[in-house]
Homo-oligomer: 348 residues x 2
């Protein structure tokens, strides 16, 4: 089997990286202050085992309690824990096609086949999604919302209908939720206590500009959190520095929220600019756009041409994505450089 | 099933903690400098996926190559990866009794029974250890050396005989190896390339005073490292700060080595002082002593009395450890306070 393959991570610092959906702005100054104030001598002791301070501030932010929160090394660790805690080898895990490419890799590592349900042409969910999962006796469904790699947002009502109908667990991966336009009114948190099979995944990687820190969390009813928190999780999964910086990041949430506003504005502008250049795209609620180049340009060629000019975007050589590029939203300057390079490739 | 239960981790800063085998001295000043020089804005990007800089400096230190090293979140993550990569659910994992209490917990999480081989009365390995594992068709054996919770060191020749005879893998957990007296000549590293079934586990938790950082590594032939490194490991298991501080810790290995010398000296002194007070103990090559109190004192009572006086030691209420205490080696001052408190409990 093949392992997970992420976007390229070049060492060169002058590359414009629009390929792995990182936040183009740095973390809040308050996070740097927390790091500067960290006492290295305290590292000789084991860290708080369950990251209680971090879970408390998260619970407070979301209007819930620490018992409904598990802190994990990025979202990835939560995905693994949900599988190892609630799925037996051989049981099928339901995913959409396309979806986040880590789901099938993690499934395979744990000897679980995937029930793969194709999204409709507009990337929406087919009406029989949950019934297919139920028919296959699937104990776990992974749904990324807003969606990857396309950026489409499913409304709260659709997600809750799926949760209601599913016999198994529904993990909604909200890695990109911070970039959703507030006027969409998208918020699953108030519904957690009504759906005993619903688990929300959040991460500080994108919204809080902390991909390098590896910190995420899960939110669910306590019956789902407890076995992961107290049994299947590695005893000390989060180091002391990460816990401290995570608290600081949430304390300075307002700073992060400013970056979300800037990313949304650039997303809107970049979508307009690309549409004006005859790229096809659908509205995105994430920090990336999935685009189809105009008729006389091939995505694979465009990817190479951009790369040769120091701009990395993501090209998936996959059946439903064969002529598309996924472009992360950069700073205004980075996006302008992208547009200039695209203009050079477009037929005159 | 019960999860892993570590020693108590009190919040109070004035407690003398001699219960979880932490290094009593802080990490090297060079580690604090590395932290002070860390640029938080770089955290917006994903960390190096396989911790290559850290693996390179480790490989260099041990005279091997990065392809034979996997970096993990403490030793715990390596233990989990070895199970999930090389053992199928239902297959027995061989351990000794007693041993590090995490091994049976991790085995149970992965639905693996344990073949439990009792150590002899002097905590040495029975001669038929490997043949018992082979008879049970055990694909994996965990051996902690120097041993926990007793501190006894098995010589290189014994470990290699076990590796030679075993049909399955042998993971030697060398969490405490830095505290072994150099005149013992204990070093398994030169033998790695002769034993395709041998995996060594190391950690920076104890020897480098970085338990709070969660950083360890495995050393083995490339055929064993590659599937863990490229497939079963979480894609970004180590954050960027941990990787940077890990490199700094190894660069300043000489500083850490000074703490090993101090711990060994205190281990020798504390063993003599306890023996003079009629405690029974065997020579330890770790940073702790497993002791049996004099006849008129019960370990459980002594544990409570020490705790009430602000000194934590480890008491295991387990069949072979029922009247013993495991005492981590502290600073000279901490050890003196321990001795003073013990003197108050001893019959006049």
């Amino acid at each position: 089997m093949a392992g997970y393959s992420s976007g390229e991570q070049p060492d060169a610092q002058d590359v414009i990286k629009l390929n792995t959906n990182e936040n183009p702005y740095p973390a809040a100054p308050g996070v740097a202050e927390a790091l500067a104030g960290f006492d290295v001598s305290s590292l000789r002791r084991y860290p708080p085992a369950t990251a209680l301070d971090f879970r408390n501030i998260i619970a407070n932010t979301h209007g819930t309690v620490a018992e409904q929160i598990i802190a994990t090394r990025g979202g990835d660790e939560l995905l693994r824990l949900v599988i190892t805690t609630f799925v037996e080898p051989g049981q099928p895990i339901t995913i959409t096609d396309p979806t986040y490419s880590l789901y099938p890799v993690l499934s395979q590592i744990h000897d679980c086949p995937n029930l793969i349900v194709p999204l409709l042409d507009d990337w929406s969910l087919p009406a029989d999604f949950a019934s297919k999962a139920n028919a296959a006796q699937s104990p776990l469904t992974f749904l990324v919302n807003p969606g990857a790699p396309h950026g489409k947002l499913l409304p709260v009502s659709t997600v809750l209908e799926v949760a209601e109908e599913l016999n198994g667990l529904l993990l909604v991966d909200e890695a990109y939720v911070d970039f959703v336009d507030p006027d969409k009114g998208y918020d699953l948190l108030p519904h957690i206590n009504d759906y005993p099979n619903l688990i929300l995944l959040r991460t500080l990687s994108k919204g809080y500009s902390l991909a390098g820190l590896r910190l995420g969390y899960g939110i669910a009813q306590q019956d789902l959190i407890t076995p992961m928190l107290n049994k299947t999780r590695d005893s000390y999964n989060l180091d002391a520095i990460t816990q401290k910086l995570g608290v600081a990041a949430i304390e300075h949430r307002d700073y992060a929220a400013e970056t979300w506003i800037k990313v949304r504005a650039e997303r809107k502008r970049l979508a307009l600019e690309l549409t004006a250049r005859n790229f096809e795209l659908i509205p995105s609620q994430t920090n990336f756009l999935l685009v189809t180049p105009p008729a006389d340009l091939a995505a694979a060629d465009l990817y190479q041409a951009l790369k040769q000019n120091g701009i990395l975007v993501r090209y998936f050589d996959l059946p439903r994505l064969t002529n598309k590029l996924r472009i992360s939203i950069g700073t205004p300057d980075e996006n302008n450089q992208l547009l200039r390079q695209l203009d050079k490739q477009l037929p005159k």
